[in-house]
């Protein structure tokens, strides 16, 4: 984009190279923090409105037009609240835990190609980095549960550990299946490949299977219903963040929604051609790419909300049976099938 290029040149002309690049990095980080906050807050609002719609209620519609400022007001309230720490909590880990969750979510966010030039961080091991980062987030949850010194928080955190480690495999393997087709882990490269048709179309049957597995495992990894055992409110109170208050609670809460966005964004990038429009024209107008990216992501986010408000919750043993006995073997078979299809050049191209 021209604006970013101009800012870049202006900064480098203004100060020495080292300072300029540091300033630039900070600026980019601020931009992403803003995206993070806005996306998080509005996803919360979206969730509440969608839930209300499913449940024949109205949902928040008083603060601002159609409730658009509701979550802003909630965030302000949370900022102004007292941060409480229980006496027996491990204070250092207790305070550290929310940052693990929020920083990993932010790091993952920086990788996505929102548009052709709108990508902060395009490394050659993109997908690998994404899966690695998303596994670090669970450390935050485990720490939160452990350091709270509360039995419900601990049970929630342990469940989260079990769940994330199990479903990570399925997420990784289903993404690996798609990587077989692209031959690259770099996200921009993967988008380039999809100019000849979205990968879910190119890879037909195994790609669709991989997508289904990815969505199931992705929902499980974000700890959302029907896999929300981590904070099953009728069983565990609020799960791992039972003891958190004020802004620290808000960090967990926002991170949950950002993680949902990330899962949907990965699916958009890998399966649905990221910023590429379904009609072929994107290059001319730069912001159109951002529009398509967000539109596809929001459709997937809506799908995940649909899951949440339709299905009852699974039990922990059923959750593990689903992963280890069904999804994982299916995934491995699917990987072999995809390898065969790529080898025999049976993929569809336009």
């Amino acid at each position: 984009m021209n604006i970013t290029k101009n800012i870049h040149e202006w900064l480098f002309s203004l100060m020495p190279e080292a300072t300029a690049s540091i300033v630039e990095m900070v600026l980019i980080a601020v931009v992403y923090l803003a995206i993070f906050a806005v996306a998080g807050l509005y996803l919360v609002l979206l969730e509440r409105r969608v839930a209300a719609w499913f449940q024949l209620r109205l949902g928040p519609n008083r603060v601002g037009y159609q409730g658009l400022l509701q979550t802003m007001a909630d965030a302000l309230k949370l900022v102004s609240k007292e941060l409480t720490v229980t006496i027996k909590a491990d204070k250092f880990l207790y305070n550290l835990a929310p940052y693990f969750v929020i920083v990993t979510a932010l790091m993952a966010l920086s990788l996505f190609p929102f548009s052709k030039e709108f990508q902060a961080f395009d490394i050659n091991i993109g997908i690998f980095f994404l899966t690695a980062i998303s596994s670090i987030g669970v450390i935050g949850i485990l720490l939160a549960g452990w350091s709270s010194n509360n039995k419900f928080a601990l049970i929630g955190a342990m469940r989260s550990g079990v769940q994330t480690i199990s479903y990570e495999l399925s997420v990784g393997l289903s993404l690996l299946t798609m990587v077989l087709m692209t031959g690259s882990l770099q996200l921009s490269q993967i988008v380039e490949v999809q100019k000849g048709g979205w990968l879910i179309v190119q890879g037909h049957i195994p790609a669709i299977i991989a997508f289904c597995i990815y969505m199931i495992a992705g929902t499980a990894e974000t700890n959302r219903a029907p896999f929300d055992l981590v904070e099953a409110e009728s069983e565990l109170g609020a799960g791992f963040h039972t003891e958190y208050s004020g802004m620290k609670f808000a960090y967990f809460f926002l991170a949950e929604f950002i993680n949902m966005f990330i899962i949907a964004a990965i699916a958009t990038t890998i399966f649905f051609g990221a910023y590429l429009s379904p009609f072929g024209i994107t290059e001319s107008i730069p912001l159109l790419g951002v529009f398509w990216f967000l539109a596809k992501t929001l459709v997937l986010v809506f799908l995940m909300m649909w899951f949440r408000w339709t299905f009852p919750r699974l039990r922990i043993d059923q959750l593990l049976v689903l992963e280890w006995k069904y999804l994982l073997p299916l995934n491995l078979l699917n990987l072999v099938l995809m390898a065969l299809i790529v080898l025999l050049k049976l993929t569809i191209h336009f």
């Binding site: 009728s234 009852p312 039990r315 043993d317």
Partner: protein, 247 residues
């Protein structure tokens, strides 16, 4: 709700709202009606009562299958509920289970059938019995009983007799000396009142037999060996109401 299926819960609220509106119109209260008083009823039924009840029955007949579509057939729900918290018929009898909890275990305990009171001997209805005794059976008994209740209402709604709704009684009622036990079938089971009177204006002893209390005592017995998730599911289908237990 306790297994995380929140949407069905709100579907229930939608239909409950209509029932509450009918109640409100007739007796002015939505939850604590106090409509039955010694000697009869507090007020006559509202002129709209019959019409609105019929409307509701017609509406609910189309909405009740939605519950099945959304929840009962769901794979996750079936897996969560089947074979959990099994209560045998013998245990149901010896723990004094009543209502849907007892009937799901095959224990025929409907007070309306065995000791008909008010107009229940004039209508035909089936007592829903299941033999599985698990959480799913208790849930299904409740759904099927909604159908039965609708058919009971349909049989009675057109035949409400005209006349006095309230017979004059003294403000102080003195029971003749002796022991009395009267029971009714409620949504949760058998609600009984036991009174020992010595002939004075206040009873010598009085006991409320609440369905919640005897059903609660089952929980310890049938939840053994399950997971936390099973516990909440079992508790939900025992349909415990805390003030009811504390009676």
């Amino acid at each position: 709700m306790d297994v995380g299926a929140l949407t069905t819960y709100f579907y229930g609220f939608r239909d409950r709202e209509m029932i509450n509106d009918i109640f409100e119109e007739t007796c002015g209260a939505r939850l604590t009606m106090n409509y039955n008083i010694p000697g009869g009823l507090m007020f006559d039924i509202h002129p709209n009562f019959v019409k609105r009840t019929k409307e509701f029955i017609a509406h609910f007949k189309t909405k009740l299958p939605e519950y099945d579509l959304l929840l009962t057939g769901n794979v996750i729900f079936q897996k969560r509920m089947k074979g959990i918290g099994i209560l045998s018929k013998e245990d149901a009898i010896s723990f004094g289970a009543s209502g849907p909890v007892g009937r799901a275990s095959g224990y025929s305990c409907d007070v309306r059938k065995h000791h008909p009171y008010s107009a229940f001997d004039k209508v035909t209805f089936n007592e829903i019995l299941k033999t599985e005794g698990d959480t799913l059976a208790r849930y299904q008994v409740r759904i099927l009983e909604m159908w039965e209740s609708m058919s009971i209402i349909e049989q009675l709604i057109d035949n409400i007799p005209e006349g006095d709704f309230f017979a004059k009684t003294n403000t102080v009622i003195k029971l003749p000396e002796g022991e009395y036990y009267e029971r009714v079938e409620t949504a949760r089971g058998e609600l009984g009142v036991y009174i020992i009177s010595t002939g004075t204006k206040s009873p010598y002893r009085m006991k409320f037999r609440s369905p919640g209390f005897s059903n609660l005592s089952l929980l310890n017995h049938i939840a053994v060996g399950g997971k936390i998730g099973d516990l909440v599911a079992t508790m939900a289908t025992l349909d415990l109401v805390i003030p009811d237990i504390d009676r």
